[in-house]
Amino acid sequence: MNILFELTALITAKRQKLLKIYTLMVRSRMLDEALLKSSKDRKIQSIVYSGIAQEAGPATIVSLLEEHDYLLPHYRGYASVLAKGVDLRTIVAEIYGKKTGIAEGIGGFTNYPDPTLRVVGHGSIMGSVFPSAIGHGLAARHRKDGSIIVAFFGDGSATRGTFWNSLALSALWRLPILWVCENNTFSCSVKTEQFITTSLVTQASAMGVKAKRVNGNDVLEIFSTAKKAIDKVRSTSQPFFFELTTYRIAGHNSIDSQWYQSPDEIQHWRKKDPIVLLRDKLFLAGYLTVFYEREIMESAKKEVEEAIDSAEKEESLTAEEFFHKYG
């Protein structure tokens, strides 16, 4: 009887977690598509870096974190920061350049810093996350509060020399860092495979970090492996490396025409949409109903539309406000 009770509790907890992840992915997707449109319609000054179809990894992994863990997000997509609790409206306002934005509208591309949620700001130079993560690892080790550091980046950034150096240091100094590479195949307009001699997991292992390659579009696969990895990083204070294999459906950014991407290839990967994959499994397991699904979709749509409406009406920093604070 006791075992049944525990099992039910486990399934319930997992069910709740999976529904939470599903909702996050839907919200991220809605936001992503809406901002792509805003960019193409020239409603915003900023260009955006779409993470469409790459939501599974960030949504799942960050959902498995604890509040005191630090997130160093990827510049691509919104799932990780939304999963950490960042207010969607402040992301939109930031991209619209308004002072209600999470960095008052002047923080730069894909930069959503929130120290209260332990979401770290993003540097414009790709790969700046590598040494920052090491520094955070040192701070976590010093705090001794069981917190871990999760750093997301792409396969392109992982061709920087500082990547290997940082992996090695994380192993040598025994830092509680979870390195997550979203391998979406592309370094802008070029396929990353042209630049690497061995696979990412081999590279990580060679640097002394335990590594695993996972299907980046399969929430359930990510869920079970990430849960184990996070617990291990936390308990042993040793780093771990995830390669999430996925594909970049959208362009590198919103002004990229994607001339170099084969339409057949894109179509092939559209069929592996992580939201659809998860949704089908949730229906099968009885965790999701048509009604509930529609509720999630409409709620997300409303949230995004309202955020954009608000952002359009809000003000940007005046010269006075700017100099007063930043001068």
Binding site: Y70, I102, A103, E104, I106, G107, G108, N111, P113, D114, P115, V120, G121, G123, I125, S128, F130, P131, S132, A133, I134, G135, H136, G137, L138, A139, A140, R141, H142, R143, G161, T162, N165, S166, L169, W173, K325, Y326
Partner: protein
Amino acid sequence: MVNGNQSTFNDAIREALFEEMERDPSVILIGQEVGISGGRRGTSKGLWERFGPTRVIDTPLSEDLYAGIAIGAAEGGLRPVVEFMCGNFLLIALTDIYRASIWRAKNAQKISIPIVIRAIFGGYDGWGAELSASFVSVFAQIPKLTIIAPSESQTAKESLKAAIRLNDPVLFLEHKKLYPLRNIGSGTDEIFELGKARVIRQGKDILVVTYAYMTVLMDQASKLLEVEGISIEIIDLNILQPYDIETILLSAQRLKRVLIVEEDIKGATIGAGIGMRIHEYIPDAKIKTIGAKPIPIPFGSAERFVLPSVSEIVEAARYLKNKN
């Protein structure tokens, strides 16, 4: 530990590190050979034994990571002091030194970055272009970076302590030739203030504005000039960014003849910027600058062809004194 007045510059740095690390457990030291070896010049001797390997951290040769590591550590609540064995190696880390300085603004001031980047810099030791060049003015193009270059041990100690306590990034430049020297400053009883320049010599004829090792050359030059009846006032900047324009203008207004002496290549320097400010405020001031020649510094004693010399300074002072 020895009282600051008896300490060499090297001792002074070590004392400052020791005292601050003792006072504040979040202060850590990162760099090559800083730990078990106690530093190439013994600057961190004893620190590893006292504070352990989690606070005194030896690194491999990865200057390209150092400043980025400092940023992450500071965000996570530490106060990292990062040591660069040679000023030239700062250029390897330049990207993240820049990022560290703009990071607070980019985070809409929600965080602070309390890091100190220390570098042992400068020439007059015969090590050639890649290990001796001064480069200080390059860092003046980085907004919100505090730049300090002390000229003697007591000021160095107080400056480093203050730098570690600041909540924003500091570039702390320690000239290698100053390391073995004991307090050669004016021995003034003035209370130390990080933002202030130091008037280390009073004079009647010419104001010299200088910093770091050039104060040692100025010490020699001013004695020679005194014999000729030319009286030199010397301001040691100590803090190069933001520099203390008030103290400079006070003396410049009085003396009207200004010689700016730097080790950086003459031309696009912090000193040239100061000269321009003086000119804007005091249009009738006569201003001259001294710096290295724009030639790669040759290895060995041939460096004297390129780096500023005492005789060059003396000649410039004579010229200024006699200029109508």
